[in-house]
Symmetry: C2
Subunit: 489 residues, 2 copies
């Protein structure tokens, strides 16, 4: 596990410690918790005290004393002349003297659906670096510009922006409608747009406003596990539908039991990157119209398109109001912004505005106003344009490195848009194990198998994000990853 | 309807119009939509063009031409020498030539639960002024301080705050734990705190993590309708439980069918302001322990307490981990902030952190960091202290005005904490009609009957918010309200 990653983990855990405590205590608690959580796993070599002290900007004595205490308590073990390693925590934690885990692990008292949410959870504590898929490079964000815009709307004269809102901030919807018209050929009235807190919230809203407990939803197989979890937590029955080269490929048997909802990412399927063909799109729209199904179009990666094929949205193609369009700002602004939007068929707008307000309450008009101006003044498209160049270079480096080192052992797909490349293994391997071992050596990746609802019919592969890793860090990270992979081939 | 309110309504609707359109078109569209939505009802007298132009900072001709067009189309009618009034919109809207409502009203295609959410919705478009309950005076918010703190954490060196987060920003949890220790006598580990987007999200999370479809939840009768809607949308069966002078009063029959969840606001029941007695608290905790129920404690108004009785929280009283505590920042910061927090029994923390992340994704660490510093540096308590003085004066003026004008016709309750007073009528009247007529004359209030799950057993009253109305505006608004009330007594 490389130093950079360890420092990041320790920093995250340090943030969780009471600021009032002494630094030595905070560092001790942070390391201990990281070890108990297995974020720092058995065998990880900690950096020398002098180096960690420098990285964290702490006194060296602070680090020495934290290490010493963890050595005494058995969380760490020292090997003479070799350094300090994380011990076998199962043993350490089961010793009666060991402090109990601060975050409880008992699951008594949870509901069935609560237990199921916990058991299917898959989001990662690490959100950065090689090769976390789905996250942008936040270091490139135009901070000072955004600060200035937020400040402009955070003034006594703008106090009404601090209230709850039902409709959201009008000019933002106008700005988004303009953006969608230009980039997605979607002609929408700004009133059809509902601003939400993220696409998970939009999905949840669709699941509740449009479907009842036990209703069937089609999801892509493989597909975004997060969407499956949200839809399942809303009581829907998940029906995985296979993909082929043309995209989502429901059979006649599938249509014989039509779904209430269809969740799909036609412009760039996640995680395969497949673009749904026009005939498949028309079939899907016709089928949905015939069976009264609603289609949720997740256009999560549309902004970052590297080649010249503009792909029309399903929403824009549909003349019969069967499509709900989900757009996110997590990839082009930043993940923590928690602003996304839905575009709705006109007949649903009123109900969704009410439902959104009743279930979640609206607000954050200051941010919405700043974002509206950010878009209107062209900063949004300028930022996208700039990032597209950066990401494209990183994608190319990753592709070259993987090809030169693995050749025919893997097949690549995706990469015409978005933040990741999918590598399928051409021989059977345990991709989850590869991902786990790679993580232990400091390289994050997502096994393809986790994207399958039906794990028994999954294919092995790795989803590699290239966006949040600097160019010069790509080759070394690929080298590490390939070493792990080669142990399995 | 007073000028101030009309200006606010028109401003809100103006914000929804495309910025690209000419001002005259925008004003015309805004007024028309407000009339179609019945936000400006039949008979409302519009301000003279010169006055509206000044208030909205528009040219007078712009207003004149918008009025003229609306007069021609029948939305407004002029009375010679008397002014301009809103026409009977039913007629206007049903004319074939009238433009259709831009926001669709058809409900086809919604699920049963979606329809039910829409039908039970009750939140108000107007969020300010006399006498909107539950909203603070956002004009008093320390804008420049908050701007400075946000700016401090919105820097390239703080880019990691732009990522998704599972655990939330640690120092905020530490700051909140410190605040709860001092003000609520709650000894909590910061790790027990989960930062959420608002108490509705917290309620939804509890409903899904702890209860399954069809499980029973006790709610207070009368009680917060918003909570009922969220719990019901999560598939729970709502059991309204009566209140008496000591608070929530479940009978032996109620306990014979114990609930999965109990939703209660013991420190200051909403909307009655009743404080749950200690013996009743202990009974509730014991009952919940015996029956394996979870209690959700909504401490929505705790910060704004005007008398010297500190009221311990249920959470602090409970030794057996049956209570989930919900705290909001909407009342002491501002409603649109969309940051709130839950305090969880240790055994639930892990599952709720995962559930929150899977269902909603976390983020907004910049705001969380700013808030942590706002609390740590004492600005939070200073702001509360300052607002307490302002609100207490407004409460006293409202109470005096109501008493001097209505005397024994009403009985007041609440007001020892929070942002509103509840007035019950001592004779049977239609409180919903009073509220509607009062709104038409520019005074917002909530009829007590809307807080009842069982409308047939409701009592009549008015919930009056005193926080978002300046001192000198209180007496005239009471005068208006009393004129309406007297027509019904």
């Amino acid at each position: 596990m490389e130093l950079r990653l360890i420092v990041e983990v320790v920093t995250q855990y340090l943030d969780q410690q009471p600021a009032a405590d002494k630094l030595r205590i905070r560092l001790y608690m942070a390391l201990r918790q990281a070890i108990l959580d297995r974020t720092l796993q058995q065998g990880v070599k900690l950096p020398p005290t002098r180096m960690l002290a420098e990285e964290l900007d702490l006194g060296r004595n602070t680090v020495v004393r934290a290490y010493e205490q963890l050595l005494v308590e058995g969380y760490l073990e020292g090997r003479v002349g070799d350094g300090t390693y994380v011990s076998n925590v199962v043993d350490a934690a089961s010793k009666p003297a060991a402090p109990k885990r601060l975050i409880g692990t008992r699951r008594e008292g949870l509901s069935r659906r609560g237990t199921s949410i916990v058991n299917s959870a898959a989001s990662s504590v690490i959100q950065n670096g090689a090769f976390m898929p789905g996250v942008p490079d936040v270091d490139q964000f135009p901070f000072s510009l955004w600060r200035r815009l937020l400040g402009k709307y955070l003034h006594a004269g703008q106090s009404r922006l601090l209230h709850y809102t039902h409709l959201g901030y009008g000019p933002l919807k106008v700005a988004l409608a303009g953006y969608l018209r230009v980039t997605r050929m979607m002609v929408v009235d700004p009133k059809q747009i509902v601003v939400i807190n993220g696409s998970h919230q939009g999905l949840d809203l669709c699941a509740r406003m449009l479907a009842d407990q036990g209703d069937r939803v089609w999801v892509e197989e493989p597909g975004y596990w997060g969407a499956r979890n949200v839809l399942s937590a809303a009581g829907l029955e998940i029906s995985p539908i296979s993909l082929d080269a043309k995209g989502l490929a429901p059979t006649a048997d599938d249509w014989a039991q039509p779904p209430r909802l269809v969740f799909t990412s036609p412009s760039s399927q996640y995680p395969t990157g497949t673009v749904m063909s026009l005939d498949r799109r028309l079939e899907l729209l016709e089928g949905a119209f015939q069976s009264g199904s609603w289609i949720i179009e997740d256009d999560y990666d549309n902004e970052l398109r590297y080649d010249e094929r503009p792909v029309a949205s399903l929403f824009g193609l549909c003349r019969r109001q069967r499509v709900i369009y989900l757009g996110t700002l997590s990839k082009v602004m930043f993940p923590g912004i928690r602003l996304a939007y839905m575009v709705l068929p006109e007949d649903l707008v009123d109900a969704f505005v009410i439902g959104n307000s009743e279930l979640y309450r609206g607000g954050r008009m200051t941010e919405q106003a700043a974002l509206a101006e950010f878009i209107d003044d062209g900063h949004f498209t300028a930022h996208i344009k700039r990032m597209r160049v950066i990401y494209q270079e990183r994608r190319d480096i990753l592709r070259q490195e993987m090809e030169s080192r693995l050749g025919n052992a893997v097949s690549v797909s995706g990469g015409h848009a978005g933040l990741q490349l999918l590598y399928r293994f051409n021989a059977p391997v345990d991709d989850a194990q590869i991902a786990a071992q790679s993580l232990a050596e400091g390289v994050v990746c997502r096994p393809l198998s986790m994207y399958y609802a039906d794990k028994h019919n999954s294919r092995a592969g790795l989803n590699l994000g290239f966006a949040a890793v600097p160019e010069k860090a790509i080759a070394p990270a690929v080298a590490t990853l390939v070493r792990v992979i080669e142990r399995h081939l």
